[in-house]
Amino acid sequence: MLQRFHNYFRRKETEIHELNYLFWECTQRCNLNCRHCGSDCAVSSAYKDMPFDDFMKAISPLEQRYKRNTVLIVITGGEPLVRPDLADCGRELRRHGFLWSIVTNGYAYDESMHRKLMAAGLSSITLSLDGLRDTHDAFRKRQGSFDRVMNAIDLIANEKRLPTYDIVTCVSPMNIGELAEMKQLLIAHKVKAWRFFTIAPIGRAVTDDGLRLDGAQLKQLMDFIVETRKEGRIDAKFSCEAYLGKYDRKVRDWHYFCRAGINIGSVLIDGSISACPNIDRRFAQGNIYTDNLLDVWDTRFEKFRDRSWTKVGKCADCKVYNNCLGGAMHLHNIDSPEIMECHYSNLMH
């Protein structure tokens, strides 16, 4: 019954497709070289950082259409903290009525950075923690990363002015055995929200096989989240990445819904207009240097809003297709419409 209501809701959301969540890939530079990175960025990227004015010009039509505080600009990279003008960009976004947030590895997030970003009206932050000390440092391929991110976690968990934040953990065979201890650690550091995702076969993870969970490990992860949610000491949830059958509502607050191109858009480093930045970049629908962002949002994105093309391969006869609609957009490749990975099937078998 609830699922049917959700499917109706999802259809209506798709019809009106309000742009409420816009990624800005402001840089491809990064201060770390993580093993599982979803992007192919490098310490020194081929692309220069996008000038803030270019981005601001592109999003100014959104200011006319949407009410203040209804569009969140998620600043991502690369690592956004490598941009020296990050706080200035944020302050300017806030002045124009946008909420803004960052996704960071926390390596460069110290007290002075925290003060600067809070003063510029930061409204949300996501920090990555991928295990206990040795595992985290091995993932991030840099000693001292764990201590730095824990310091950043303390700053944000104790910050009363931050409307929302969370810690994300990319779960792999390397850290699945540490989740219980990580939970105690996060609770001891007063963390309120913890989100999990798994490694998609994209970015650097394509060539690193030791990072993917098998069906039994995936089930172990789901059971861990269910149990943690029952305890109620930390708000644990699984990310948006897949329909999960009987686990769907047990590991999240609401049903699975891939909002890419429906409420989520992005401006990528080269100006491409797409949905989530982890989606195959060839799905880009336009470019801010040649197109009007709102025109593109209003009139293109057909493949994102009508997902019937995904009903091929294993999705063709799937009995839960109506709930899932062919899975996450980031698990599709433009060359072949078939989904790369299905958590639902992995959990069932």
């Binding site: 979803g38 969140l72 909420l99 009206g121 009363k160 002015r161 409307p163 609401w254 982890n278």
Partner: protein
């Protein structure tokens, strides 16, 4: 877009309801939580303090505090006290403008990073301020 008017109305109601607002919490895998979309107006914080004269530490009444690019403003009471409430996600390294309502002193600008502390005690160098005739 007009044809979706009813749904949009319904959507607004769902968003406002504590029971269904979770439907609108957006969070892409590699993104940040967006509960702020719903809660932003709710999360507020208050900065309060006292304004005194630098020369003799006497409280200054009737001093107007405004915060650039926002509608926030308040006036110190007879004991120099003030209290101002801001949205949590408002930027705050801004200029506080102190203007004596009586017109006795000219405007003085003081940059105060309000987010660093919920309590602010400001000393104003009013004696050095040029008097308004």
């Amino acid at each position: 877009m007009e044809k979706h008017k009813t749904y949009k109305f319904f959507r607004g109601m769902l968003m406002a309801s504590a029971f269904t607002s979770m439907m609108f919490v957006m969070q892409a895998c590699y993104g940040t939580p967006n509960n702020a979309l719903i809660d932003d107006e709710v999360l507020e914080y208050t900065v309060s303090g006292k304004v005194t004269a630098k020369s003799n530490s006497e409280p200054l009444a009737g001093i107007k505090l405004t915060i650039d690019s926002t509608d926030y403003e308040t006036v110190t009471d007879s004991l120099g006290n003030f209290s101002i409430t801001l949205n949590a996600s408002d930027y705050c390294d801004m200029t506080f403008k102190f203007v004596d309502e009586s017109g006795k002193y000219q405007q003085l600008d003081t940059i105060v990073p309000v987010c660093n502390s919920p309590e602010l005690n400001i000393e104003m160098d009013v004696n050095n301020a040029p008097k308004v005739s």
